[in-house]
């Protein structure tokens, strides 16, 4: 097993290639990252009624997310407590109870064991059903988005999202209605390490013009100028990158929310009609973010593009493979036609057959599998773009990079990834709360820049 301190070098801004390949690193990720972080499970809109359920994953653990009679949500491991068989094989549905196929044990909507066939005759009154409920995970909801966590000592979801909520509120609450997800998800297998798409979404504005050159030319409009990196665009005026305490981050291209959508009348009108209210509630900086296009990842493995409105979960399946789930985000209070149009455009661009998605998968897979080579793997990969052109900002929380093309949020993602792998427990992580951003050393970057502009 490689020594952990060499996996990520926060000062030189590079990583060992082992992070995309090594099985021991992956096993440690399952233990120290996926089993201790808040993982996206679903959205209230996907299971609106009591009894509704969906089955999903928390990393490689199968879970059932279930809407309770009292309106709350519970999640439990999709495995019978008798001999371990998977309890539910449907993607979603509405169920009074879940019956295991193997011996017929019956679990209630809340995961409790409610009935056992032949109980009196075979168990002689000795079965303690209360102790044999399905294993629960913690469930918390933020603005309709439901997350689960397998660690009793982890902070609550709000603390885990932390100052990133300042940004999320801009869109997850918006003018008032907030966002919901439309399913069912597209699902596909991609032969890549889970961090490759996560880092791509958290902050890779750089690849857009090159990887997606063909698609951007076809779409035309604002982003066609990026195609092939030919246009001379003043990147520092076009947007920012952000990273926060727990590795969540995003890049934003200003005024480009709907730019990937070809048919966008309804969505563009919705944004135009609601932006003033967002400005009134959240201030001018967040009104600007509201009409920008975001490429975003919530640590560890949930990503979305706000504006394009595709929403992804990268479920890891070993170090070299993921299962990609793709939903669409839409404003809850938009009319049906607008929601439908957003869903179609999001799927056309970033669904399983998406005009842009199809460009990305190839890169993600080859960036992983090339590391099969021993000589190759004994090397580093670089994420130093824009080091020093970033720092704390008088208004925006976290660390802010000077351009949407940069690697500030990559550095923030891997900084926290390393912190989680190194830390034996959440107490150790919390001890770094006041010093986490010290790797971003140009503390005066924004104050100097703002002074110079004035």
């Amino acid at each position: 097993m490689p020594r952990i301190p060499t996996l990520v070098d926060n000062v030189e801004a590079n990583q060992s290639r082992e992070i995309f390949w090594d099985k021991d690193v992956y096993d440690l990720e399952l233990e120290r990252i996926f089993a201790r972080s808040w993982l996206f499970l679903g959205h209230e809109s996907l299971l609106p009624k009591p009894g509704d359920f969906i089955t999903t994953y928390m990393a490689e653990d199968k879970v059932i997310l279930s809407h309770q009679q009292d309106g709350s949500f519970r999640a439990f491991i999709n495995s019978c407590t008798h001999r371990g068989n998977q309890i539910c094989h449907a993607d979603s549905g509405n169920a009074k109870a879940f019956v295991c196929n193997y011996h017929g044990w019956v679990f209630g909507q809340d995961g409790s064991l409610v009935d056992v066939p032949l109980e009196t005759r075979c168990y002689h009154g000795q079965l303690d059903k209360e102790q044999l409920g399905a294993k629960h995970v913690r469930v918390e909801t933020y603005k309709g988005f439901i997350f689960g966590c397998g660690d009793a000592d982890a902070p609550g979801l709000e603390e885990y999202l932390g100052e990133f909520r300042w940004y999320l509120d801009t869109i997850w609450e918006g003018a008032g209605g907030g966002l919901e997800l439309l399913g069912p998800p597209m699902k596909s297998i991609l032969a890549c390490n889970w961090k490759v798409p996560t880092e791509n979404f958290v902050g890779d504005g750089y690849h857009v013009g090159w990887t997606h050159a063909g698609a951007l030319l076809g779409i035309g409009g604002e982003l066609a100028g990026l195609a092939g990196n030919r246009a001379d665009i003043p990147f520092e005026d076009l947007g920012y990158q952000f990273t926060t305490r727990h590795g969540h981050g995003f890049g934003v291209i200003n005024n480009a929310a709907a730019a990937i959508h070809v048919k966008r009348d309804g969505w563009a009108k919705y944004l135009a009609d609601t932006r003033a209210e967002v400005g009134r509630k959240f201030g001018p900086e967040r009104e600007e973010l509201y009409v920008g296009h975001w490429n975003c990842s919530i640590f560890p493995s949930c990503s979305f593009l706000y504006g394009t409105n595709t929403f992804k979960v990268w479920h890891p399946r070993g170090p070299h493979e993921i299962e990609v789930w793709t939903y669409t985000m839409v404003p809850r209070d938009a009319d049906a036609e607008t929601k439908n149009s957003i869903q179609r455009e999001a799927s056309r661009s970033f669904g399983t057959a998406g005009t842009l998605e199809s460009d990305d998968g190839e890169n993600m897979s080859s960036a992983t599998h090339v590391n099969r080579g021993t000589i190759t793997r004994d090397g580093r990969i670089d994420s130093s773009m824009g080091v020093g052109f970033e720092g704390p900002h008088p208004i925006f929380p976290g660390i802010v990079g000077s351009s949407f093309i940069g690697e500030t949020s990559h550095r923030g993602f891997y900084r926290f990834w390393k912190e989680m792998l190194d830390a034996p427990d959440w107490k150790t992580v919390k001890a770094n709360d006041d010093t986490w951003d010290s790797i971003f050393t140009n503390r005066d970057y924004w104050s100097d820049k703002i002074d110079a502009a004035e």
């Binding site: 094989h89 449907a90 993607d91 979603s92 549905g93 509405n94 439309l182 399913g183 069912p184 998800p185 597209m186 699902k187 596909s188 297998i189 991609l190 032969a191 990887t211 050159a213 063909g214 698609a215 030319l217 076809g218 779409i219 195609a227 092939g228 070809v262 299962e323 669409t328 049906a336 439908n340 869903q343 179609r344 799927s347 056309r348 669904g351 399983t352 057959a353 998406g354 005009t355 998605e357 199809s358 460009d359 998968g361 190839e362 897979s365």
Partner: protein
């Protein structure tokens, strides 16, 4: 599907099978513009819905074009997908993939006014790079109309058998 539908008859059946062979040849040759122009009508709805795995007792209806879909394209949208492949900047198709189509179980029925309902099965093999090989099986429900001495498709519903696509994307025509 009703068993009472009227079979299109051997001549039409045979002509439609010939048409499908020619369609496969164009797609396998990468002649996407010719395929679109010659074989797809301008009122096309090209649709690949998402089918969830649901319990038999689940009474929710099948997906409609208002639901999530992998393809849900009109002619202009299909044309945009075709043109992307001619941009010279689709790196994953350079060197190009090899793709083979196997169309079988073709059943053609009269639908009136020179139109036909045609059901078929598809097996698609895609070979890429050195070792990548993927297989997709689909059911296909077409509506064809006679145009000149050939046919054009104006409704195409593609029913994927796999819930989880075992490929990096489904960006190919079928």
């Amino acid at each position: 599907m009703s068993v009472k539908q009227t079979l299109a008859g051997l001549d039409v059946q045979s002509a439609i099978e010939m048409h499908y062979r020619a369609e496969v040849r164009l797609l396998q040759n990468g002649q996407y513009r010719e395929w679109l122009t010659e074989m797809v009508d301008e009122d096309i709805h090209y649709w690949m819905p998402i089918y969830e795995q649901r319990l038999i007792r689940d009474r929710r209806p099948d997906p409609t074009p208002d639901d999530a879909a992998i393809y849900n394209d009109d002619y202009g949208e299909l044309k945009q997908r075709v043109e992307r492949l001619y941009s010279g900047t689709v790196w994953m198709e350079d060197p190009p993939s090899k793709i083979r189509y196997f169309v079988s179980n073709v059943e053609a029925f009269h639908a009136g006014d020179g139109e036909f309902d045609v059901f078929s099965n598809l097996a698609i093999y895609r070979n890429r790079r050195q070792l990548e090989m993927t297989v997709h099986t689909l059911g296909r429900e077409d509506k064809l109309r006679q145009v000149g001495d050939g046919f054009k498709v104006f409704r195409r519903k593609l029913i994927l058998d796999a819930r989880v696509t075992q490929d990096k994307n489904l960006y190919f025509f079928c």
